[in-house]
């Protein structure tokens, strides 16, 4: 794939020489093997369809997270089955379970180790808000320590709801101004 950037101030519009199969999936116009699109659309198209989640399985919700990977719900249908336990290889952290004060530091540290761009899904009532554990040891929502993109309700979240959440995350990624982040200092 060859990308021609048209001038320094015009990076929003680019010409791409690529295969016909690239045409679908993002906002683009095609003429004689040339595709005209926005860099944002291209980057978002790539990012949204190759989410590698990092399962931060902390409690009960982690079992449903395993269920999503199982054969009945099969998250592989959406291209997100590549669960990576290493923060360096993943771009979406799924916080599944109760975050206690003792664990919060580790969650934050793993999040910090993830390479940008990165997103966070708070799975289940506990990760969203502390859930039913309003106690001396429970963090009242993981958004107290890391930014959350998608909140999913449920105790535990049903696998369908998690899949829905990941698809909303894809929608969110599609609407991001990604190119700006790439080229601005």
């Amino acid at each position: 794939m060859v990308v021609f950037l048209q001038g320094r101030h015009n990076i929003g519009t680019i010409f791409l020489i690529m295969d016909k199969c690239f045409q679908q999936g993002f906002d683009a116009k095609s003429e004689q093997g040339f595709i005209c699109t926005k860099l944002d659309s291209l980057i978002n198209w790539v990012r949204a369809n190759s989410i590698w989640p990092q399962p931060m399985g902390l409690a009960c919700c982690a079992i449903e997270l395993m269920g999503v990977g199982g054969s009945r719900f099969d998250i592989g249908r959406f291209g997100m089955e590549v669960m990576r336990f290493s923060p360096r290889q993943s771009d979406c952290m799924i916080v599944a379970g109760t975050v206690t004060y003792k664990m919060a530091g580790s969650v934050k540290r793993v999040y910090d180790q993830m390479a940008a761009p990165k997103w966070v899904v708070a799975m289940g009532a506990c990760a969203c808000s502390g859930g039913m554990f309003r106690t001396y040891s429970t963090l009242q929502g993981v958004d107290k320590v890391i930014p959350v993109d998608v909140y999913v309700a449920g105790c535990p979240t049903r696998p369908e709801a998690l899949i829905d959440a990941l698809m909303s995350l894809q929608n969110k990624i599609r609407s991001e101004r990604s190119a700006r982040g790439l080229f601005s200092k």
């Binding site: 931060m56 399985g57 902390l58 199982g70 054969s71 109760t98 003792k102 664990m103 554990f133 535990p156």
Partner: protein, 405 residues
């Protein structure tokens, strides 16, 4: 964090193979630790010379919460103890409350509870062996186990409305009677489960790689197992035929025919075999329970314990008041204390409840089998190789929700 790694005494040089020891921290976010366990290992080359499990990353203060909730309100919290077998926990807790109050539940209730317990046991063991197989490098067995577990989740959903967090038991009975046709569904599950289990068995049990990785690893002698307080499949894997369902029968387990599988060598392989066989025995119990399922009510006919019928609540003033008092103040449990242990998939889950009368417990103490299994790691892990750690942890099948409470 580095501060915690300083050891006061220098390691002895004679024991060293490389001349220096290394401290390796594993977890709390690591696939081999099954949740939020953190292991601090002292390594000599790849030989573990010291292992410290660090627990508490999932401490949610459940025992403290129990002191402010009525007995029935605490049942949802018992779901989150061992979240792989919530029904077992619900039932163990209400059995303890019933022991203080001296409530005898109806025969139908007992039979339904037995089915619930055994189905839960299968669900829990399925996740246990799925994770264990994964630790030993087999992804296929995970898929096979989860396919079966999903069928169980559907059954639980039909019964309780929730896939995992069931909250089904109530003091003196159950939340509701079983839905129509449910027993038939359980039966067809049982029929298709046994061949599926044979398949899982055939995939792994005679697999050379699996045997090489597990046989002779993590050996626990019967004496050690009893000294350390191991219970459940981990104790039976060491060759001690101890099962609370046989030794101190509750829920009428004495009326069911089943065998207690035990291991011979007490190694990781035996614990695997015991779990597989226990699932077969559970199916046996479920089938007997379905066969002789008695008719009648599931709740005791005591207005101080059980909620009145909904139609009556909508019609009669007295029943409405009774319903209101029971829901807000909880069932009236006399002063006293009781300890009850149930044979859960992970081991003996015990509840010690002190009541000072009224609907709220004064103190609830939970004896978690996973905590005991994990404490034994300090003794078991040293002397093994680093790569054996995942298999040993997997073979003990613990769950951190229960361990940290």
């Amino acid at each position: 964090m580095e501060k915690e790694f300083t050891y006061p005494e220098p390691a002895s040089l004679e024991a060293d193979r490389l001349g220096e020891k290394m401290i390796l921290n594993i977890g709390p976010s690591h696939p081999a630790t099954h949740g939020v366990l953190r292991m601090k290992l002292e390594l000599d080359g790849d030989l573990i010379t010291r292992a410290d499990p660090i627990v508490g990353q999932l401490h949610r203060g459940q025992e403290k919460m129990a002191e402010n909730l009525t007995y029935n309100q605490f049942i949802p919290f018992t779901d989150r103890l061992d979240y792989l077998a919530p029904l077992c926990n619900n039932i163990a807790f209400v059995q303890c409350v019933e022991k203080i109050a001296g409530i005898g539940v109806t025969e139908r209730c007992k039979a339904v509870r037995v089915i619930c317990c055994e189905l839960s046991r299968i669900a829990s063991h399925l996740v246990g062996i799925a994770a264990y197989g994964m630790d030993a490098g087999s992804w296929t067995v995970f898929m096979y186990c989860f396919t079966q577990r999903e069928k169980l989740c559907t059954l639980f959903e039909q019964l309780t409305g929730a896939r995992m967090t069931t909250s089904y038991a109530r003091v003196g009975g159950l939340a509701r009677d079983i839905p129509e046709g449910w027993l038939g569904n359980v039966n067809s599950f049982a029929n298709q489960f046994l061949p599926a289990l044979d398949e899982i068995d055939a995939l792994i049990t005679r697999n050379k790689i699996f045997i090489d990785r597990t046989a002779g690893i993590g050996v626990v002698s019967p004496e050690q197992a009893m000294q350390w307080g191991l219970t459940g499949a981990n104790l039976r894997g060491s060759g001690v035929a101890s099962d609370l369902r046989k030794d101190v029968p509750y829920l009428g387990y004495e009326n069911y025919e089943f065998d207690v599988p035990i291991g011979v060598n007490g190694d990781c392989y035996d614990r695997w075999l015991v779990r597989i066989e226990e699932m077969r025995q559970s199916i046996r119990i479920v089938r007997q329970a379905i066969e002789k399922m008695p008719d009648g009510p599931v709740n005791v006919a005591d207005p101080r314990i059980s909620l009145p019928k909904k139609e009556k609540v909508l019609r009669d003033m007295e029943d409405l008041i009774n319903n209101f008092v029971l829901v807000t103040q909880g069932p009236d449990i006399p002063a006293g204390d009781a300890y009850f242990e149930a044979e859960n998939p992970k081991g003996a889950l015990g509840f010690y409840i002190v009541s000072k009368g009224g609907g709220v417990p004064y103190r609830v103490k939970i004896r978690a089998p996973s905590f005991v299994s994990l404490s034994a790691m300090q003794e078991i892990l040293p002397g093994h190789h680093m790569s054996d750690m995942a298999v040993i942890l997997g073979s003990f099948d613990f769950v951190l929700g229960e361990c940290d409470r």
